[in-house]
């Protein structure tokens, strides 16, 4: 039997929240209905006047009442290090560490023991916050989001830091978007609706399949994320593919589909097993759950299998990201999407 637990990131319900159909409590209620026991929060998404309410007894007591009422555990707090909050400079290292510590404290105030940080967070900021994280019993998890991957030159830099410092309060949060067998169907359908041609779609899909087959050239560590990303794209044949799409008469929808295809990537599920000691939490990213509980892009069963093999005891946190490909033209039903995804996770875990 596996000890893997299930969580929902409230990020998933963003379309209902935007429309006013769900408020924060509504999202928690829907989370509970799926059978998940963990909750992941973007405070800056659903707590108005962030961070003021978190500093008040009143809000915190409301929050913990909700946790009890819906039988939920605060699992992961998603932070955004706004280190370019002013347009005329990047915040100094001290200012950034102070902001990171603020987020660690806010997470802790709401009962979270994991904090998600983004790849743009400078290593010095992480190191400068680690003692405080330990003191507050919060683990900083670096989100490994496509096009980044574990077992890469990029990840090695962080591994070196983990080993050098011996920290138990920094590790990785894989985002399952790094396990895309192919481009999500909702993205392809959007391209079709917007006028992409079958010929161009095939060029892009074939190129993705070929990258997957040959293995993605991994992204390098570079403080200039834009530069690293462009090098990554070129090394993975973006130019050739774009040329082919152009030669096939690709219009804006084709070009957009082609460009977007580089935001998805495939890593071997074995990466999870290799790095399990440094994985505290997981974003179970998905794009479209069919009625038969199939996700056509993310390799849910294969990845969950790796987690089971590795003996993972943390949470898999449903993170629905299909809405953005629908909402321009169609209704979004995040509630049903998350429900299906939780069912699929449950089955894969073998509860």
């Amino acid at each position: 039997m596996s000890n893997i637990k299930r969580c929902v990131s409230l990020y998933s319900y963003q379309d209902e929240y935007y429309l006013g159909k769900l408020d924060l409590e509504g999202c928690l209620r829907e989370t509970a209905k799926t059978g998940a026991t963990g909750v992941e929060l973007l405070a800056e998404q659903m707590i108005k006047r962030f961070p003021l309410p978190i500093e008040t007894e009143e809000f915190r007591s409301q929050w913990f009442d909700w946790m009890e009422k819906y039988n939920l555990t605060p699992v992961c707090y998603d932070a955004f290090l706004e280190n370019r909050i002013y347009d005329n400079r990047t915040l100094t290292l001290r200012e950034q560490i102070q902001m990171m510590k603020r987020d660690i404290r806010l997470a802790s105030l709401l009962g979270f023991h994991n904090l998600r940080t983004l790849v743009s967070t400078p290593m010095d900021v992480i190191e400068g916050s680690m003692d405080y994280a330990a003191k507050m019993d919060v683990k900083i998890g670096l989100e490994v989001h496509a096009p980044f991957s574990l077992n890469s030159g990029w990840a090695d830099g962080y591994m070196e830091m983990i080993h050098r410092t011996g920290t138990k309060h920094f590790g990785f949060i894989p985002d399952m978007g790094i396990f895309c067998k192919n481009i999500p169907d909702v993205v392809r359908e959007k391209a079709r609706r917007h006028g992409a041609s079958e010929e161009c779609i095939k060029i892009v899909d074939d190129a993705y399949a070929s990258r997957r087959e040959k293995g993605f050239v991994k992204i390098k560590y570079d403080l200039d994320l834009g530069k690293a990303n462009m090098e990554y794209r070129m090394a993975n044949g973006m130019k050739e593919m774009m040329d082919a799409v152009a030669a096939a008469g690709g219009g804006p929808a084709d070009m957009e589909y082609a460009g977007t295809s580089f935001t998805y990537s495939w890593s071997e599920p074995q990466d999870i097993i290799d790095n399990i000691d440094y994985i505290f939490h997981t974003h179970a990213k998905f794009y479209n759950m069919h009625e038969d509980l199939q996700e056509t892009a993310v390799a849910v069963p294969e990845v969950v299998e790796a987690y089971k093999k590795a003996g993972y005891t943390g949470y898999l946190s449903s993170e629905y990201e299909g809405g953005e490909h629908l909402r321009m033209d169609l209704d979004v039903d995040s509630i049903e999407q998350v429900r299906r995804h939780q069912e699929a996770l449950k089955a894969a875990i073998g509860e």
């Binding site: 990020y11 963003q14 379309d15 929240y17 935007y18 429309l19 006013g20 973007l42 800056e44 998404q45 659903m46 108005k48 006047r49 962030f50 961070p51 003021l52 955004f80 290090l81 706004e82 280190n83 370019r84 909050i85 002013y86 347009d87 005329n88 983004l118 790849v119 743009s120 967070t121 200039d224 994320l225 834009g226 990303n229 909402r327 321009m328 033209d329 169609l330 209704d331 979004v332």
Partner: protein, 131 residues
Amino acid sequence: MAGRPIYNPDSFQNIREDGKVVGFCFEMKAQYYRSFTLSILRDIRLNVDGEDVNRDDIRITVNGETFTLEETRTVIDPEYRWEFGEYAAVSVRKEGGLAQGTHSLRGMQIIAPSYMPFQIEAPCDTEFEIR
């Protein structure tokens, strides 16, 4: 359904001051998945009926406080975050305002979350009616 609404359709109207029409305004929601400080709202671009609006003529009102786009550069107070899912009022100084009838608006919200290697440009086009 025609896609997720961005604008409050009932909000488009001319602005009167001292009995004179001095501009027009409307309400819109930010096209991002979380709230943000106005300091990272790096631009609002508007084109009404084919004519670009001068940046200096644009104001944004959040939580009862109105800022020029130059002023937003230093607005980091939690009181003035553009909350996710909430309307902000955008107003444009324009002598005489807009004529009654239907108008077309091409809008663009530009924000710069610190972790993005590029700015995010969200096109927000619509038709609207001034009564």
